[in-house]
């Protein structure tokens, strides 16, 4: 064995060995930087949401865009999910002779979990991408610079109305989704599974509690805020023309969807702990 081939002690200065560490370090630092940016942006926008001046006309306009025009997609999602849920619970329940619990489990599943999460995910696709694209286009066409030169704060004029609209309208959409989802389950249960219609509705109504509804509504408000904030944040950071705007829309949808699922788990854990 020559001297060169002898085993040597760990050489921390060897760039080849350090390369993976450097990559990990760079990725972690990049991730932390992004979290810092999102947190600072969110804090600025949320402060603008609760302090004057609030542009009510803009808030109403955004409520229409975010809420009213999302009704069809949320309603369709809810009816199919309610119907599929009823079928699945009936099939699974039949193994334990528990088919009669279809209405109870459908209403619980829809109000506590599937209503807010699926409405949130649908809106992440529809609204978050739309907001990111709109604001991204404003960024690359200098409209945001124009706002600044007119002494208007984008956080107040552009972002706060969208976030307020998200927080206000998603709970309302979820309430509608709850009703339509239960209706979807009802249609399948009565039409295909031979349930008694009035008994189905009576069981659904008797089983659901205010806490079930509230937990879904609170989740929806949080998801609504996340959806709008991610759209605004990615739009605000977009650069480089049409490609940059497209990338912003994609990042907004992915970011909003991941944050919705993560915050859903955190909120559910919290609700379980406090008995909501």
């Amino acid at each position: 064995m020559t001297a060169a081939a002898e085993p040597t002690s760990v050489q921390p200065r060897d760039p080849v060995l350090l390369r993976p560490l450097r990559l990990i370090g760079r990725t972690v630092l990049g991730g932390l930087r992004e979290i810092g940016r999102i947190t600072a942006f969110s804090a600025r926008v949320l402060i603008a949401c609760v302090t004057p001046v609030i542009y009510l006309r803009e808030v109403l306009r955004q409520c229409l865009k975010v809420g009213y025009f999302s009704l069809p997609v949320v309603g369709l999602t809810a009816v199919f999910i309610g119907a599929a849920l009823a079928l699945n619970i009936h099939t699974g329940g039949s193994r334990f002779n528990a088919e009669q619990f279809v209405p109870n489990i459908v209403v619980l599943g829809i109000t506590r979990e599937l209503g807010p999460v699926l409405a949130g995910l649908m809106l992440a696709g529809r609204v978050s991408a739309g907001i990111a694209a709109e604001i991204g286009a404003m960024r690359v066409t200098e409209q945001i610079d124009a706002l600044l030169t007119l002494s208007a704060q984008p956080a107040r004029y552009l972002y706060a109305p969208r976030v307020i609209a998200g927080i206000l309208t998603l709970p309302l959409l979820v309430l509608v989704a709850d009703i339509i989802g239960v209706l979807g389950g009802y249609l399948v249960a009565v039409g295909a599974l031979d349930f008694n219609g009035s008994l189905y509705l009576k069981n659904s109504w008797a089983f659901v509690t205010g806490n079930d509804i509230w937990s879904g509504v609170i989740k929806a408000a949080v998801f609504g805020g996340i959806i709008s904030l991610m759209g605004c944040y990615q739009g605000d950071r977009s650069q480089g023309g049409a490609g940059g705007v497209g990338r912003a829309a994609t990042l907004a949808v992915v970011g909003a969807a991941v944050l919705i699922l993560a915050s859903n788990y955190i909120l559910t854990s919290l609700f379980v702990r406090i008995g909501l």
């Binding site: 200098e142 610079d145 600044l148 030169t149 002494s151």
Partner: protein
């Protein structure tokens, strides 16, 4: 630069880099009240960055900006500067979601809380100043031609009666006749307001029409400044090459 009167805007030794690219390398520029200064220079010379540095849209790494004798050093100073300035962006930068009249009176309407009726009247008055009919007020920016968009952007820039107006390539993308009409409007409105103007452009016809003074920006520095009448006898090979539009000379084409 010696001014017998206090400049309305002064940039001192302004440096700005984007990543490894140093764009401004010590820009010194001053504009007197009522004066129209046009900054010329090749693509990538840093003209837009100079204007954006003055307006606080980008933050210089080094250097100072003075507005009306006051150092612009924080958000409050930038806000005070923006309230007394107007800006016409290269492509208009009109807000797509608003009508023409809402665009024109955006600052009074959304920033100052003016009533919509009064704001609408003010918008129509300012549209008339840029030769646009009242019937254009309810249109959306996407329904306007390029020349009309520039006029609306000009109306928006002058509506608050600013002391200083910035023009970023005001005639880019316009045919020569429309460009001349826009130049005439700029001269007319700047004079009517008694405002100072800082413009950046490549269009030499525009320079000759709207400038009192011309400054040449090259590689992030002002390399020549003089009255527009001296443009053809500047003695600077850079200015000479630029004014005559020659590929050969000290300025390398940006391709």
């Amino acid at each position: 630069m010696n001014f017998s009167i206090k400049p309305i805007l002064e940039l001192r030794d302004v440096h700005k880099a984007f990543g490894p690219k140093q764009v401004l390398r010590g820009v010194d520029l001053a504009v007197a009240p009522g004066q129209s200064l046009v900054v010329i220079g090749g693509s990538g010379a840093g003209k837009s960055v100079t204007i954006k540095s003055a307006l606080g849209l980008v933050t210089p790494e080094k250097g100072e900006v003075f507005f009306d004798g006051e150092l612009v050093k924080n958000a409050k100073g930038i806000e005070a500067l923006r309230r007394r300035t107007g800006m016409l962006f290269q492509d208009g930068a009109l807000f797509d979601s608003l009508t023409v009249w809402e665009n024109v009176v955006f600052a009074p309407l959304y920033r100052d809380g003016m009533g919509r009726g009064q704001a609408n009247k003010l918008a129509i008055e300012n549209l008339a100043k840029v030769r646009l009919p009242a019937s254009a007020a309810e249109l959306r920016p996407s329904e306007l031609s390029g020349g009309m968009q520039k006029r609306v952007a000009l109306a928006r820039a002058i509506v608050a009666k600013p002391d200083l107006i910035f023009f970023d390539e005001p005639t880019t993308g316009l045919d020569p006749i429309t460009a001349d009409a826009v130049n005439n409007l700029i001269v007319e409105q700047v004079k009517a307001l008694g405002a100072a103007a800082v413009s950046i452009t490549h269009d030499m016809a525009s320079v000759r029409k709207i400038a009192d003074e011309v400054a040449m920006l090259h590689e992030g520095r002002i390399i020549w400044r003089g009255p527009v009448s001296k443009l053809d006898s500047s003695g600077s090979p850079h200015v000479d090459q630029f004014v005559n539009g020659r590929a050969e000379g000290p300025i390398k084409p940006a391709i």
